[in-house]
Amino acid sequence: MGESYAHPEALVSADWVQEHLDDPKIRIVESDEDLLLYDVAHIPGAARIDWQGDLQDQVVRDYINADKFAALCSRNGIAQDTTVVFYGDASNWWACYAFWAFTLFGHKNLKIMNGGRKLWLDEGRPVTREVPSHPATNYQPKGGDEAAVRAFRDDVAAHLKASRPLIDVRSPKEFTGELLHMADYPQEGSLRGGHIPTAKSVPWSRAVNEDGTFKTVDELRAIYQKDLGLKTTDDVIAYCRIGERSSLTWFVLTYLLGFDRVRNYDGSWTEWGNLVRAPIARGE
């Protein structure tokens, strides 16, 4: 047994979730890249919250406002003091994204189920197609932690000027500028390729194992603290293409390694790579 994560309560096992399926203080939430997966099968009692249809504003490129967030939580039976456990496909990218988005609104008691949807299914745990109906709540948003966890482009520019650490979590070819988008995601490209100057490349995938679980704290420290030279007291901004993969890195740095101040730049490369006169570096 190695050391435990900085905030071990933020990560739960599939066993833990299975023991808490009927706990009224806990809501399990599935968030996926592929919308249909929830309809195919989900953890009994789990609600679906979709990053695109539920969490994003449908007109402005932004998240829903506090009223809509309150309505979303209320109809899914989530109260201010409900513990929400997220899981999903793609090594929990979207689960981490939803976790991060809930943080914007100040919701506490959030957790990620280690290994996500795939591990749950691979272990032959119970699933259902039945959509639960949880008693509605009257959610009162606390108002949020946005400034603590979200970076806008001006924040990134200031960070750059102050030589503070930026982490680019995209694939190596997106970082060097060979690709204008992640392999296979042509619809989310930018007009320019490359990365934000001074950003260090640490693809998100280095933080997870083959089975979708997170690496151990020692392995993670070796990546972010030893190799990259970051300190837990550093002020860090992470970005990717639209902020989903960097949500996973944000989760790793904040909860698993205990960094004090990590922000996710959700505008990410689809904003920076399209901004007129924004400085860009290419190559390694």
């Binding site: 919308l35 249909l36 309809d39 195919v40 695109q52 249809g53 042509p186």
Partner: protein, 147 residues
């Protein structure tokens, strides 16, 4: 457009949101397995680059008819369902019928409303790829029969 595809579009258009999801899941379940000869050729040449998931497409034209085979992961039911829908709608059609399939087929089926803008563009890429491959195969067939 081939009658088979027309019927699928009509069914999806008439369905509500949840029914569309169920139809797409059914299509995903019913995607025929690749014949072994093709299953051995899941390589870069047959991979549909526009899709985030590994989707493989095999397009042929023989005697003026298009034959379509494809494979897509069970973990990605949206694209698997759409690929299956295209095979059911376009397999056995003439190359001309395939070209005439509207580029915004995804919208015609009412899937954009269900899936959201960011998710459907990769699906349209599958159709573009099919059209391109059919054009190539049709030219190859023409050349070989006229040689």
């Amino acid at each position: 457009m081939p009658a088979a595809l027309d019927a699928i579009i009509a069914e999806l258009r008439d369905a509500d949101r949840q029914e569309r999801i169920e139809l797409l899941i059914d299509f995903a379940k019913n995607l025929p397995a690749l014949p072994p000869a093709l299953a051995a050729r899941k390589d870069a040449e047959h991979r549909v680059e526009e899709c985030q998931s590994p989707v493989y497409l095999f397009v042929g034209v023989a005697d003026g008819r298009v034959s379509l085979h494809a494979d897509a992961p069970v973990e990605a039911p949206t694209v698997r369902g759409f690929v299956s829908l295209l095979i059911e709608g376009l397999d056995g059609a003439t190359p001309e019928e395939v070209y005439q399939t509207p580029a915004d087929l995804v919208d015609h089926c009412g899937l954009t409303e269900v899936l959201g803008m960011l998710r459907v563009r990769g699906l349209s890429g599958v159709l573009r790829r099919i059209k391109r491959e059919v054009a190539r195969a049709a030219v190859a067939e023409h050349d070989s029969t006229s040689a």
